[in-house]
Symmetry: C2
Subunit: 283 residues, 2 copies
């Protein structure tokens, strides 16, 4: 497998890595200046912006959009709220299309508020995705289902493994329209004994839409906001990228680090510099 050294154009920065310190325009400039080839944006950064303008600015900076983050959580305690979530996601898919994003990242949501019905949440997620799929197809933006680490099952994602995500893809999109696939984030799946096999399966069905990297720190001090920089933790990043590439993945290697007490406190330029160095050496 080819090293990423000298190939930062293959690499992307997810704006979450920069701690939401700057407006999107400045992050675009900083990411482009640092030599990366793509950026992944968050919906909240597009509020009060004309999305077409941001899309053009990104392209003018020489960047691609590796993804738009992320879906409104789908499971809800009432039918009306569930349908409102779907509508919200339709709007977000249109934004992703306007940005010419490579995919719309779907984080499914956990249990509906006040509920313990995990099977029910999963059923709602499946139904919600079925409702969104045609819209994604006509918008030309594939949905990338991101299985989240099982520690987020209650409150963020009842989609917990890559296997489960691929099972869902097969149910909803058995003819492989290209509109439904998966985002593989090492933080969420590195522990999975079936990871290699499921990445291979995803490649065979052409579902590999995104690849996110960061690292798992030991100890991990916060369930949500203590992700590590690549190389500072225990994930075999190079090995997992190898599985992705052997399975046909040739798109962006995207850095996504939530790190309230470390990287989010540093200057954006420093974080970008370290990301670039680590991508080229440990990924």
């Amino acid at each position: 497998m080819q090293s990423l050294a000298g190939r930062l154009e293959r690499c992307a920065i997810n704006t979450a890595t920069l701690g939401h310190q700057l407006p999107i325009e400045q992050m675009i400039d900083a990411v482009a200046r640092a030599g990366f080839g793509a950026i992944a944006a968050w919906r909240q950064e597009l509020q009060d912006r004309r999305v077409e303008v941001i899309g053009r600015r990104i392209r003018d900076a020489g960047l691609k959009v590796s993804g738009l983050c992320r879906s409104t959580f789908i499971p809800a305690p009432t039918r009306a709220l569930f349908l409102a979530n779907i509508e919200d996601n339709r709007h977000a898919i249109d934004q992703a299309a306007a940005l010419e994003a490579a995919c719309f990242v779907v984080v499914g949501g956990g249990l509906a508020q006040g509920s313990k019905d995990l099977a029910g949440a999963r059923a709602q997620l499946g139904e919600g995705l079925a409702l969104l799929l045609e819209h994604a197809r006509s918008a030309g933006v594939p949905l990338a289902l991101e299985a989240l680490h099982p520690m987020y099952c209650a409150d963020r994602s009842c989609l917990s493994t890559l296997e489960q995500a691929l099972d869902l893809c097969e149910v909803l999109d058995s003819h492989r329209s290209g509109a439904l696939g998966v985002a593989v984030d090492v933080y969420h799946v590195w522990w999975d004994p079936k990871l290699e096999a499921q990445i291979e399966r995803a490649g065979q069905s052409q579902r590999l839409l995104a690849f996110h990297v960061c690292d798992w720190l030991v100890p991990t001090r916060d369930l949500l906001l203590d992700r590590g920089m690549m190389g500072d933790g225990v994930i075999e990043l190079h090995r997992i990228r190898g599985w992705m590439e052997r399975s046909g993945y040739a798109d962006a290697v995207e850095v996504e680090i939530f790190s309230r007490d470390n990287w989010w406190k540093r200057p954006v330029s420093e974080t970008l510099e370290v990301c670039a160095e680590r991508l080229q050496t440990v990924c």
Copy 2:
């Protein structure tokens, strides 16, 4: 499925629930007095004790021993340390036998210190269990492999799902000697999309050796020491117990709660009272 109301003799208290506040003798008395039918002990409580004496005291109190916690982690950075871990576990199995414990709880260990080699850790675990199995068989104490939540994969257990544990059982003990099975702890496995199917599989191969309950709190503030009392979180305890019992499990329902900032700060009598109430109402 029969309720646990009026059937505390089916229920066990894992001494970890009591925050290690008291010597084992006092915990035995408190658990018996509160009406439970069994206790699960930790090895550190047996230091400086004659295990046979503790075993007799437990039986004299009218209690069974639902398990002895837990194995020394197996993966190690050198062969000598690996073999020392195995030897340590042999000794612990002898203690479990002296206690007449229903099983010896095996928490496999995470990555070897300083290593990122997850496949290697899993291979060491498999080899270590193979080395221990004959000893367990001759001691008459089955090994209960406990898959731990994937958030412990790095530092506590590279055994992360029930499916993985059962796959290992089949490799190591294909003829079902009775010496190898699994402990199902709801905290570790409640999120698993394959949980019902894997519990059924474990039942069919007579591998269900232990069942631990507590709850998953939302939010969870600490990866290790913020488990909830049954009913205070989001786990469908009654449903999972139903899957266990339909699969043939008829042994203890054991409460195991690590709760540094809540239950461990309360008097033992109060914690036991609430355990009893919740077992009989929400489990």
